[in-house]
């Protein structure tokens, strides 16, 4: 019998707040695929690349603490947010490669009885499905092929760059200039993957408050690219990209001078649709840009 895949799930904050549908669909898909997810209930926010700007050392300690709890369960940590993936992987990289820094961090963690060892791997649910579960096995599970849809993959920066780090973390980097994981996933599920220039570009999320004009232009261009490529909807593995593309279409439309609204699904929702999950299980009503094709 095949070994059951088990992961320590680092939900991140967004899946517990602004994208509840992402958490629901993660669990729905895991159940269909027989993947066991043990939620890291002690985990804190990864700092989302902003706490790091304010207090780098504090962010290292908090991220190391999160990894400690995956280690204590003896599991690979699985993330469902590109930014959580990057910040956690970056912490692991820095601590594993700098004994002095690791010692400083561990000195703090010892105060609460923890120790970062570096024994847990960190991967994103997208790669858990593609690399660990396997696309061939996934294909056998498809009950509703997505054949009538043109789907625009939107990768999100923090899963694909820096590629060296991604390679080190889960042994297989995307090609940042020509990524293929989401495209392969779409094809495996029977859909048509559309190609467009912005698929590996930034959505602008992280500068939305500080640099709203830049952020709106980036969001607008991404939505416009997918629309011009004749996509019926977009799909992304990152809840932050999802939020930006799903909710900010109005500002984005003003910035690029065009109406740029379209449905943006989470990667898990797309997989769930093909596996026969119900719209309710996938939380499809929790979208601002309505998902009206199911």
């Amino acid at each position: 019998m095949e070994k059951k895949l088990t992961y320590a799930l680092f939900t991140g904050c967004t899946a517990k707040e602004s994208t509840p549908e992402q958490l629901m669909s993660t669990y729905a898909v895991a159940e269909k695929l027989g993947i066991e997810l043990v939620e890291l209930s002690e985990a804190t926010c990864c700092g989302a690349s902003h706490l790091q700007d304010y207090d780098d050392f504090l962010s290292l300690v908090l991220n190391a603490r999160n990894i400690c709890y995956a280690e204590s369960r003896g599991m690979t940590m699985v993330t469902i947010c590109n930014t959580c993936q990057l910040n956690t992987a970056m912490t692991k990289h820095r601590l594993d490669n700098d004994p002095e820094l690791k010692a400083r961090v561990n000195e703090k963690l010892a105060e609460v009885g923890l120790e970062y060892k570096g024994t847990s791997e960190i991967t994103h649910f997208l790669y858990a499905i593609i690399d660990d579960f396997g696309l061939e096995t996934l294909k056998e599970k498809v009950v509703t092929p997505l054949s009538q849809f043109n789907i625009a993959p939107f990768y999100g920066c923090h899963n694909i760059r820096p590629s060296e780090l991604q390679n080190e973390t889960h042994g297989k980097a995307e090609n940042p200039y020509n990524p293929n994981s989401l495209d392969d996933l779409i094809v495996t599920l029977g859909g048509v993957n559309v190609d467009y220039e912005e698929k590996n570009k930034c959505c602008g999320f992280h500068a939305e408050l500080q640099a709203p004009k830049t952020a709106a232009l980036l969001t607008g261009k991404a939505l416009m690219g997918a629309m011009d490529a004749n996509a019926d909807w977009m799909v992304t593995p990152c809840p932050l990209c999802h939020l930006k593309l799903d909710t900010q279409y109005e500002h984005a439309g003003h910035a690029v001078g065009r109406d740029v609204k379209m449905p943006v699904l989470h990667m898990q929702q797309m997989v769930g649709l093909a596996l026969g999950c119900t719209p309710a299980e996938l939380g499809l009503k929790h979208h601002v840009s309505k998902v009206n094709f199911v």
Binding site: L51, D53, L58, R65, C157, R161, Y177, T247, V288
Partner: protein
């Protein structure tokens, strides 16, 4: 012994002459490419064998002068360093050769880099100190002090990061990754005395480090592993460490994370926006979107805010591990 292989490649070559052309066009050229060639070999062969008017820059042919930087299928490369085989593996046999910035094209692959040099100049990329005209001994820097520069010193000013940066592409005022790396380089130098001056420049809204969208394009593209975004993060840190953070949306946004984590472990997303923007501006700027999100169940009410388990532990760690104050 490795055998040399050849492949037929279709090149779409950007052609433009600002003196005579209104619009650029792309010329299709098919060529046999051998596994030993780099992009610069192709540029040379286009000029020598196809069209003598084809223009590009090159100088050292060793990846150290930065002159030959162009884009191939959107990827910034040093033409003299980038192997054709790697590009073919990445993109297949149809390759588009373009200058680093189409809107700054002067002739074919040659661009006007004036904006790049101006941004550089803006951050005072030189050592500033009172110089003793008659020093009695050398001005020694320890290896540990030198190590603080990280790789910021390796920049060859090729412009690959600058012309790959989406923040800069969408906002001409943004100073950009290469100049920020230079600012960090001199701020990290123990002999320099102008840290606060430079922080003033890189801290300013619209042009400064807060407008970085954190896409990591600059780290990915840099052929010298300067890792500009890491230096940008260090500049952010220096702003707080030196106590020169301006109390504005950008800084409050960063600090708000610490507050939220202390309170809930997780981030209180709505509260973070309120903390960063202030209540009234938040409602004015985000009220409409917030209401739409609320209607579809994308907003958590304060009384339902999820919390991390073992919050006492988190609080204790924040207390003992915090290194800066705002």
């Amino acid at each position: 012994m490795t055998t040399i292989t050849t492949q037929t490649i279709t090149f779409n070559v950007f052609r433009f002459n600002a003196e005579t052309d209104y619009l650029p066009h792309y010329k299709t050229i098919e060529m046999e490419v051998t596994s030993e060639e780099v992009v610069l070999d192709i540029l040379n062969r286009i000029k020598w064998d196809v069209d003598g008017s084809f223009s590009y820059r090159r100088s050292c042919r060793h990846g150290i002068c930065g002159a030959c930087a162009i884009k191939v299928n959107g990827k910034g490369v040093l033409a003299c360093k980038e192997r054709m085989n790697d590009l073919i593996e990445l993109f297949g046999t149809e390759l588009t050769l373009e200058p680093l910035s189409i809107k700054r094209a002067v002739k074919d692959m040659i661009i006007d880099k004036e904006d790049f040099w101006k941004k550089h100049e803006q951050v005072k990329p030189y050592l500033i100190d009172e110089i003793d005209e008659h020093p009695e001994s050398e001005n020694l820097v320890t290896p540990k002090e030198e190590a603080q520069l990280l790789e910021a010193d390796y920049c060859i000013q090729c412009g690959l990061c600058h012309y790959s940066c989406p923040s800069l592409e969408n906002n001409e005022s943004y100073i950009g990754p290469a100049a920020f790396a230079a600012a960090y380089r001199f701020n990290a130098d123990v002999r320099d005395k102008a840290t606060l001056d430079r922080l003033d420049i890189v801290n300013a809204p619209d042009q400064g480090v807060w407008d970085c969208v954190k896409c990591f394009e600059c780290q990915e593209v840099c052929p010298k592993e300067v890792n500009p975004i890491e230096k940008i993060t260090k500049l952010h840190n220096q702003v707080f460490e030196n106590g020169v953070a301006i109390n504005n949306v950008a800084t409050r946004h960063a600090v708000g994370f610490a507050h939220s984590i202390k309170k809930h472990g997780l981030l209180d997303e709505a509260e973070l926006v309120r903390y960063s923007e202030g209540t009234v501006p938040m409602l004015m700027k985000h009220g409409k979107v917030g209401f739409k999100m609320f209607k579809v169940g994308k907003v958590v009410m304060p009384w339902n805010m999820p919390k991390s388990d073992k919050l006492d532990e988190v609080k204790a760690l924040i207390k003992s591990s915090s290194t800066v104050k705002f």
